[in-house]
């Protein structure tokens, strides 16, 4: 299959392009998505191809254009709203938490909000505390939203279509650090199930539950552990709300050990939630306590060595799992 290499950035772009071609009601708006071509060049040339009605540059006005996206969705459109990065998303948090997430319930089922919000997330390239947030857990706290994490090229390419088909608001987290990474994309894949977590690698000795940048890091660690004779199962949670508990339970029931990896800081995180659900559902299946490797409890620092130390690295995953399995 050599020759089919594609960057994560190109995966996102193809997904957006496909959505615009598939449905006249779809349009994208956000800061610098048009004339600039996207802060990360994701939407380069889409303005030229689709015109300013469908690729709308917005002012620096997160609350305004996210709110307008909700209104346009109520009005029958299928907006894709790009928030340049998660770091700016709190400016729109009122719109997301108080409007998008509540309208269906508050109206007794009368008004649904078919909106997709995409945002680039996580550590980039030494961007320091205000531009390196991993806030998936914050949004995953809110009932009424579907929270997706595109930790692989496959999901970056194929999550958008089902997200747009969802009648309710969906947030897709994309990852700045993956943008330039090239991978082969399976050609026959046309959609992903946005209800379900995905087992990325099967194994029998231990399950790693992870999402976002943790997926490729865990797969790398799993490769190395395989050479030491440890067969790791890697589960990409990918739907952070509503959480796919069944896939988690099935994996723990199979491997009897659970390890959770995420970039977000440990306290009140997705890993806290996954760990708690495992305790509730699988306590008697466990051969060892659930362990976690998470982001440090610190605003992300600027220098490279400290930035690297702030989030889990594959070598740490390898060593933690060897310890957990009491591997020599």
């Amino acid at each position: 299959m050599a020759g089919n290499l594609i960057t994560y950035r190109e995966c996102i772009k193809q997904a957006i392009r496909e959505a615009l071609l598939a449905d006249e009601r779809v349009f994208m708006m956000g800061e610098d998505v048009g004339h600039y071509g996207g802060a990360f060049a994701v939407s380069k040339n889409l303005l030229q191809e689709f015109g300013p009605e469908r690729i709308m540059d917005t002012p620096l006005s997160e609350a305004g254009f996210v709110g307008a996206g909700i209104g346009a969705a109520l009005g029958g459109m299928r907006p894709i709203v790009e928030i340049m990065t998660v770091n700016f998303s709190l400016l729109a948090l009122d719109q997301i938490a108080n409007n998008a997430a509540t309208l269906l319930h508050m109206s007794g089922g009368q008004f649904n909000v078919p909106l997709v919000i995409r945002m680039s997330t996580g550590i980039g390239r030494q961007l320091a505390a205000q531009h390196s947030h991993s806030w998936e857990p914050l949004f995953a706290h809110l009932p009424g939203l579907r929270i997706l994490s595109a930790g692989t090229h496959e999901d970056a390419r194929h999550m958008l279509a089902p997200a747009l088909a969802d009648p309710d608001p969906v947030i897709i987290f994309e990852y700045t650090s993956l943008l330039n990474m090239e991978k082969e994309l399976p050609e026959d894949l046309t959609g992903v199930d946005i209800q379900k977590a995905k087992v990325r690698r099967e194994g029998k000795d231990i399950s790693i539950f992870t999402y976002g940048t943790g997926v490729y890091k865990s797969l790398t660690a799993a490769e190395e552990l395989a050479q030491a004779g440890i067969e790791v199962e890697v589960v990409d949670l990918r739907v952070l709300r509503p959480l796919d508990e069944e896939t988690i339970v099935a994996s723990v029931t199979k491997t009897n050990r659970a390890f959770v990896v995420e970039d977000a800081s440990k306290s009140v995180s997705v890993s806290s939630e996954v760990s708690a659900r495992i305790m509730e559902r699988c306590f008697y299946e466990l051969d060892a306590p659930v362990q976690r490797l998470c982001g440090a409890e610190v605003p992300i620092p600027y220098p490279k060595h400290l930035e690297d130390a702030s989030v889990p690295q594959p070598a740490q995953i390898v060593s933690a799992i060897k310890t957990l399995l009491q591997h020599a």
Binding site: A63, G71, F111
Partner: protein, 323 residues
């Protein structure tokens, strides 16, 4: 404006329905039939009635949490609104919203929004959808002067002007953001200028004068339909009752309230009609009676309704149907 006797009676009865409905709601609140927040519109009736008469059934309406009056004028059943305030299943939002969150798809009534200024950008979005889908309808968005101090107001104004969306922004300036007076919250108290600052056609009107509000609203709506561009209308009004049922009204003098009550929009309109011989005392008594009956029926309906089974608690957190 030439109005026939039927039209003026309808307008008067709409204002009176708001007044009597809310008096009854306050009573039911003290009887603990209604709980949570209850914000009364009494005193401001001419604004909802005067503005909404300018709209068509296809137009969208978005309101604040002080929206019982707008819902009634828009044609929602009084009983269904009362049932919502009772928290009953037969309420317009299945009891899930209460007083602050009246919703109705049939009349395109998009709430009942309880975060001050939080709905303004959504109104821009509704307008944007209408524009993109080339529907000849407008969105009418009500908010108070308190909302104009929020950043969300300014973002919405900028987007509305930038994208030229058919939205009527109606500021119901009742002089108090909860309990803090306009003079303590706005450096520029000439509110109309804040729409104009964004390049939006703006006007202001005496919100206690129904005919004046109608005139201003008709002009604004005509201009929006003709140009597709937004309009900003300030209606200067006053709420006679407390901000909510929890408010002890320590921030304003009784004398001030009494002075404004001299300008009661219902009394003024009634006097005008009597003077112009478009209404006689008998007509008025008939309207009062009819309205009282509607209110009594609304309460009887709400009382007869049921509560949603607790098993359905989680329903409508996510849609059951596909998109």
């Amino acid at each position: 404006m030439n109005l026939n006797p039927d039209q003026v009676k309808k307008l008067l009865s709409q204002m009176l329905l708001i007044r009597r409905f809310e008096e009854k709601a306050a009573e039911m609140y003290t009887k603990e039939k209604i709980r949570g927040f209850l914000h009364l519109y009494i005193g401001e009736e001419a604004v909802a009635v005067g503005v909404l008469q300018a709209l068509q059934p296809d137009d969208n309406v978005m309101c604040t949490y002080r929206e019982h009056g707008h819902a009634l004028v828009r044609g929602m059943e009084p009983g269904v609104i009362m049932a919502e305030m009772y928290g009953k299943l037969e309420g317009c939002s299945r009891g899930r919203g209460g007083s602050m969150h009246l919703f109705d798809a049939k009349t395109k009534f998009y709430g009942g929004n309880a975060i001050v200024a939080g709905h303004l950008a959504m109104a821009v979005g509704l307008g944007l959808a209408d524009k993109k889908l080339q529907r000849n309808q407008i969105t009418c968005c009500f908010f108070g002067e308190g909302a104009m101090a929020e950043g969300a107001f300014h973002e919405a104004m900028n987007l509305a002007a930038l994208w030229q969306v058919p939205v009527l922004f109606v500021c119901e300036n009742n002089l108090y953001a909860m309990g803090t007076a306009l003079r303590y919250t706005h450096a520029q108290q000439d509110l109309e200028k804040k729409g104009a600052a964004y390049g939006i056609a703006s006007s202001s009107v005496d919100g206690m004068d129904l005919m004046a509000v109608m005139q201003a609203a008709n002009e604004a709506v005509d201009s929006i339909r003709q140009t597709g561009q937004p309009h900003f209308l300030v209606c200067n009004t006053y709420r006679f009752r407390a901000h909510s049922m929890f408010d002890a009204e320590l921030y304003r003098e009784k004398k001030e309230v009494e002075e404004w009550k001299q300008r009661d929009p219902i009394t003024s309109f009634k006097e005008l009609l009597l003077q112009q011989k478009m209404l006689n005392d008998e007509d008025y008594q008939a309207i009062e009676k009819q309205v009282q009956q509607e209110v009594e029926q609304a309460v009887a309906f709400a009382e007869s309704c049921s509560f949603e089974p607790v098993e359905e608690l989680l329903k409508y957190t996510y849609s059951e149907k596909a998109n």
